[in-house]
Amino acid sequence: MARAASKTSAARSRSTKKGAAGAAVQAPKPPKPEDFDKEQELHAYREMLLIRRFEEKAGQLYGMGLIGGFCHLYIGQEAVVVGMQMSMKDGDQVITGYRDHGHMLATGMEARGVMAELTGRRNGYSKGKGGSMHMFSKEKKFYGGHGIVGAQVPLGTGLAFANRYRGDDSVSITYFGDGAANQGQVYESFNMASLWKLPVVYIIENNRYAMGTAVARSSAETDFSHRGLSFKIPGIQVDGMDVRAVKAAGDLAVDWCRSGKGPIILEMQTYRYRGHSMSDPAKYRSKDEVQKMRSDHDPIEQVKQRLMANKWADEDELKAIDKEVREIVGDSAEFAQTDPEPDVSELYTDILL
């Protein structure tokens, strides 16, 4: 079984050298992505496909007027959450912003409950009172689902504070985007997390556009793995389209945190295929750019090609997975349309305990 070369390994090693020279941060060596075994490949394929099909269906329901307000789809970025989830263990927490459906499915939250929340129904995860951007599952350690850009970063840091306070070895996986990375509260959090050696992995999902503003137009330092250097937080750039690279970096990062070394940043270089939200025509980038990412770097297609090349699955087997995933998604959509809206009495519940 040959080791697959990562397309961004050169970028990663370069950035690490700079990081080591620029500050007294003993940055960990960027990990080489390990090949997955058959079981891991099949798992990653199914999980990523579930997110993609779910999001496509959500887009369709939005188009039918069944989902209201804002709806931010995760299509293209699936490898990030699926790879990270493969590095986590029970007790680790996840928190993110408003592009959150993929994170929820990755943590094992039920497609039905997520879709029913999108349609604002009573069996949605928040009883229909939160919607696309505000969903939680205490059981799955998913702490939201936050609509204010960057607000989840101090919150995720607080989850890590609680882990250290209790003396358990759980890690807070705190996701935010390249846009949120310019919010002041992110750096306030970095400072405290490093000062107090909090077990938090900051995942910067760099999908290249903060809504419609390209990274180079909004960020003086576009290498987000360097964003922690002033706080002595090491960072690694990761090919976020390769689920194996994500898992390898995730393994390193959670070990880093669990061994008491404090926070670490992973910049996931990824791409969203759809607009910022459903109402974004995405005219700020060329069709060629999107098409090139889709055809050359698609995270699901990469796994599919490896599964077939290794003869671990043939077309029929992959179709069977696709069918199973479609059934879950179809069932969730059906459920989300037939589940009743919340009872009017719910207007005044859950305000105070």
Partner: protein
Amino acid sequence: MPTEILMPALSPTMEEGNLSKWIKKEGDAVAPGDVIAEIETDKATMEVEAVDEGTLGKILISEGTEGVKVNTPIAVLLADGESEADLDKAASKQAAEETKVADDSATKAEPEEKSGGSVPAAPEVKIAADPDIPEGTEMVSTTVREALRDAMAEEMRRDGDVFVMGEEVAEYQGAYKVTQGLLQEFGDKRVVDTPITEHGFAGVGVGAAFAGLKPIVEFMTFNFAMQAIDQIVNSAAKTLYMAGGQMGAPIVFRGPNGAAARVAAQHSQCYAAWYGHIPGLKVVMPYTAADAKGLLKAAIRDPNPVIFLENEILYGQSFDVPKMDDFVLPIGKARIHKEGRDATIVSFGIGMTYAVKAAEELAGEGIDVEVIDLRTIRPMDLDTVIASVKKTNRLVTVEEGFPQSSVGAHIASQVMQRAFDYLDAPVITVAGKDVPMPYAANLEKLALPNVAEVVEAVKAVSYRS
């Protein structure tokens, strides 16, 4: 069965659009994610992607059609193994879908009609009375500062999940010495000095509370909490609701609020009305040391986010505090500070200092004033206020905050709605002046309410001026 492709809504407000272009033609194979058409909305031209795999069997709406309503079938997609002969099956499905949509809207509309489209009544908040203080209980003269410290220390002894964080709370012993001695007793794990980073540490506190800890976040003053107000309002106050009751933030935000002395505009503002505006928060603003202690203990035990507004000038004032093992007061209950029958003054926090002195002066002039200390701004004990107004028929509110949308303005509006017939005079709301706090000593004095204003207001509502 063939699948219909419907005219999509592509923004929260779109009802119709123009089908400007078909990218795929009849007979073309499509896969999920393929762009099949372009649609023009009022804001932009958007691409429509296929969700299902299949062959574009028939185009129902030709390109160039304008004003196509959302959810109109625009094409039919044939699945693997289906042919043109199957196209009509989609039509019957369409009819079924339409019925379903119609049914759906009927069920949606029904509950509204049943209740006449009206909003259900807000639930009544039932709050227990203050605990009895057993006869013979020793009363200890205590400063507000010590009472607050004692409350925190007792709760920290009682519950290992309670900790204090904030600027200068540990080694410096508190910027205003409220946390004096806590570091020595509880150590630096539970008494945490933070960097000067209000937005950040407020969020860290809320995150720790999400995880089940019970943080006490001290702001050096609430003026600085404006930097953190997003985390307080959007993260702490709203999460329980947004999570459908699954999780919330058991957290206390406390610190001095309002004007101190000669610290001018940016350091002299009362936030009672600001936080009192927000559902999902409890807001406490005590006056006496006993209330400060009993209510802070309650706030720390409360599973909800509590804003605890203290006052720098009151920190050094002494009051009797009952010497009891566990003196906890109910949040949301006003206290009748002094009974009276001629007029009611409602105040809270440092506003009480004006109210109490005014009542003493007025007693000398034969006006017997009832003074109510609200203690809690949210949930507000309007029942106690209204019961008093029904007795005295006259009401004056006193606070240091700005006059517009003030706590007094809210009380006046509620009393007007619930006890209009009992009022013998319009309610007067005494508040700080509608100006940023000036620095100059004489101007500062003018900007704050004073005893004479309160006396005058009570006389005015009593037609005695």
